[in-house]
Symmetry: D5
Subunit: 119 residues, 10 copies
Amino acid sequence: MNRDLLETFPNPNPGRAYLIEHTAHEFTSLCPKTGQPDFATITLTYVPAEKCIELKSLKMYLQSFRNEGVFYEAAVNRILDDFVAVCEPAWARIEGKFGIRGGIGSVVTAEYESEESQP
Amino acid sequence: MNRDLLETFPNPNPGRAYLIEHTAHEFTSLCPKTGQPDFATITLTYVPAEKCIELKSLKMYLQSFRNEGVFYEAAVNRILDDFVAVCEPAWARIEGKFGIRGGIGSVVTAEYESEESQP
Amino acid sequence: MNRDLLETFPNPNPGRAYLIEHTAHEFTSLCPKTGQPDFATITLTYVPAEKCIELKSLKMYLQSFRNEGVFYEAAVNRILDDFVAVCEPAWARIEGKFGIRGGIGSVVTAEYESEESQP
Amino acid sequence: MNRDLLETFPNPNPGRAYLIEHTAHEFTSLCPKTGQPDFATITLTYVPAEKCIELKSLKMYLQSFRNEGVFYEAAVNRILDDFVAVCEPAWARIEGKFGIRGGIGSVVTAEYESEESQP
Amino acid sequence: MNRDLLETFPNPNPGRAYLIEHTAHEFTSLCPKTGQPDFATITLTYVPAEKCIELKSLKMYLQSFRNEGVFYEAAVNRILDDFVAVCEPAWARIEGKFGIRGGIGSVVTAEYESEESQP
Amino acid sequence: MNRDLLETFPNPNPGRAYLIEHTAHEFTSLCPKTGQPDFATITLTYVPAEKCIELKSLKMYLQSFRNEGVFYEAAVNRILDDFVAVCEPAWARIEGKFGIRGGIGSVVTAEYESEESQP
Amino acid sequence: MNRDLLETFPNPNPGRAYLIEHTAHEFTSLCPKTGQPDFATITLTYVPAEKCIELKSLKMYLQSFRNEGVFYEAAVNRILDDFVAVCEPAWARIEGKFGIRGGIGSVVTAEYESEESQP
Amino acid sequence: MNRDLLETFPNPNPGRAYLIEHTAHEFTSLCPKTGQPDFATITLTYVPAEKCIELKSLKMYLQSFRNEGVFYEAAVNRILDDFVAVCEPAWARIEGKFGIRGGIGSVVTAEYESEESQP
Amino acid sequence: MNRDLLETFPNPNPGRAYLIEHTAHEFTSLCPKTGQPDFATITLTYVPAEKCIELKSLKMYLQSFRNEGVFYEAAVNRILDDFVAVCEPAWARIEGKFGIRGGIGSVVTAEYESEESQP
Amino acid sequence: MNRDLLETFPNPNPGRAYLIEHTAHEFTSLCPKTGQPDFATITLTYVPAEKCIELKSLKMYLQSFRNEGVFYEAAVNRILDDFVAVCEPAWARIEGKFGIRGGIGSVVTAEYESEESQP
């Protein structure tokens, strides 16, 4: 959970609003109550403004959750906050799809919209 | 069908409207007419306000239907009412997808929107 | 094609607009031109008003088409008319998905909205 | 259940042992106990000897079960017996895959091998 | 490509706007440049006005493309024009999904809306 | 777990060795350690000798596990023993496919062969 | 149905028995009784001896059935005979998977083994 | 990355706004940082104005990326710019779905709308 | 990688050879060369002798690989060795299905057969 | 097509015959006749003797086909020969699954067995 791992590069087409989606199938963290590992697929979707996220740095950032205890809801919101702080997108969404626990699967989804891009 | 089993924890991001979905694949109750078991997948989707539902308590609550007689339509509305009373979400939906009976499968879906979140 | 087979029970939550969907995988009737059997999956989706359809009576009603000659388009509209007459829903839709004939599969879909529920 | 409906044509390659499979997705009969309709997919697989089954006659033969009461096990064995009597294949198998009843799906499979083709 | 093959019958429910969809999996024509065969799945979706398309005539009409040279874009627009001219629907859409050529699959979709049904 | 619920009927084709498979998607029992419900799909496959299992009695028998505590391995072996004792098949197999617990799904499979049918 | 269209090239590894499979999704011919088009997926699998089939010539050969009337069983055996005559493989199999007619799909499969490669 | 490879032909139905979609499953380029090959499925969707894209020229154009170094985001925007410059459509969209790298799959989507077609 | 975490319980049916399969979807370890995380689905299949593996202890054992560096081939063989040492089965197999790296997915499978159970 | 790119490491369990499978989804080469790119999924399955193939070197080796002209049959046999020469396995198989050309998809499979491991 180390925001400093995220790196960006200049958006090659800042004049056009377009969509980028990265789906990380291998996210894992720990349950803060039981210490048991949790597993999820994290999908980051965003409309870049001036910066794009560098793919390898995104991988390293997501790996930094590996041995941290964090609830589903907090993990998704934290990733969104970190991404928005570093990449300053026009719009962004994080979806976390967590593995089955006690016969129940869970999906948490949070969105961000910059003030400039709101109507 | 014991509402008191549901427990909540404080929403870690109350300032952001975001979506949580829990899908319970192992719901079972009894048919009130024949006493025969019914099976369903129950999907709870909601936008939290001040509280989030605790996942293990949701499992225990859904298990409390195991030996109760209840019609499809009543079960879905009852789960929605109990969830809304305890968790007080901004918005919520319950979908129950019931197994095939006499060659017919059934889905019942009910929604709730809090007065504050209505336009 | 006997409307009298349809039975209803009082909607347990008449104060909430919610959705019920029954999918019958085993519908069969006869082609009125050739006498050959037709097969379809019939999906009934509706928002109940005062009454809900009783599931077993729906099965018996759909079985009453077994040895009747009826075109696809007429079958779907007839089921919708019969259902609306007996169950008086706020809204209803019938979808009939018919098997492949001459390399062509067919789907017919008809909707009904009660005058009260129209804006 | 009328064996006389089955027609054959001469095998165009009687000198070569090869495999023919016909899968009928639209088989229906009645339950002899309850009178309720049953639905199945019937797969006929065979190695022809002197005769091949004519496809349209197979369809008509299978349709002759439509309003007959017959158990799953009896239906599959009956189809095999009728087919063997009329088509006299080197080898044949009938698989009947029946729809879900009381949460249980059923498959019945029976084989025939001619005395000449046994080692 | 013979419009005269299309036949219609009177819409059994002209008072209700409803949807009919026919999906033909076995469409084939020729490439006008190379003479090589093309293969497609053609889906016709429409809201009937006074007339419905007769299913067997639709099959015969689509077969009339078998040995004609026609580009993807022209085929879909031609089928739409012919269907509209004969069946005079309130609304119609033709989708043609063509097989892979040079590693590229293609879909062409065209719609028609009658002047009366436009708002 | 009441063997007496199983009923049989005479095999309509005792002279032919053929295969019957019943797949029950809605099996549930309790974990003997935690009291938590377990869910499984149970598949019974057998070659009948003199008797066939009656389908509705199989459903009632499987339902008798609903509130009993039993381990996966014991449940599958118990069902096989009860089935063999009542139905006396030439050959039988029980497969139990249990739901995901702690990220792990389980399948237990046991077979029986009568002494006469062994080579 | 013109065997002369098939061309071969020398097997680059005649010293090793290996398997080649070509699956043609776009085969069409005519029904010799009704003149109606038939559609199939043809799979050719073989172990080459001295020669391999040239892929484009296989396409042209299969296209030569387009306007010929031929039964399913005859088509598959004919393709096998032509392929064996031209390519002289150690072993070969043709599978033809034909589209649904009257609710029935069909698969015909024929094999060839050269005398040298038989044990 | 050679725009001159793209060729067009006159839109056969310039009076009707309709949709054309080409999906190229076999796109490959190089990573400009590591020189390693990237693989993607590129989907071009557009509403033609006066011109349609010639399918073979699209294939040749996409092949011209094979040994060029280009980032995901730049590739998708470049393809859109080249297509718009040559084909001058009313509307167009490019979606690039890139293979998994470090456990992460990526999709980049960019759209274009001509000034005339904007409301 | 701590064998002592594995616990067993007495096989409830030691007189019958039957099959148990546990599939763990959430296995993760580290690459010993790069320190990067690896992810796999591990399937343990075995025929018990005197002992069965306790499911929760299997989960804890597999979790003990989380922060250990181990190659694919070594991980699968190590799990098999540990399982055989503790559970002493008649037969066992471990399959590890590892995530895509550099566009390549990997599966490693190893088996064990006790001396008594070999023919 | 550079065998020297393949590297090995010592088999960690040379005393046990076990199976390793690597599936490369991103293989591309050129058609030697037309110069057009071909695409395939290459699956390498083997039983190691003293050496295992190093995964990254396998990736680099397969990439060396990128701009080489080679027929399907020759590519698969060449990969098998190179792998056997460098890794000296007990048994090995290469399967190449090539993309659709002219409506036809192709699979080529070749196996190797060392003299010691043959019975």
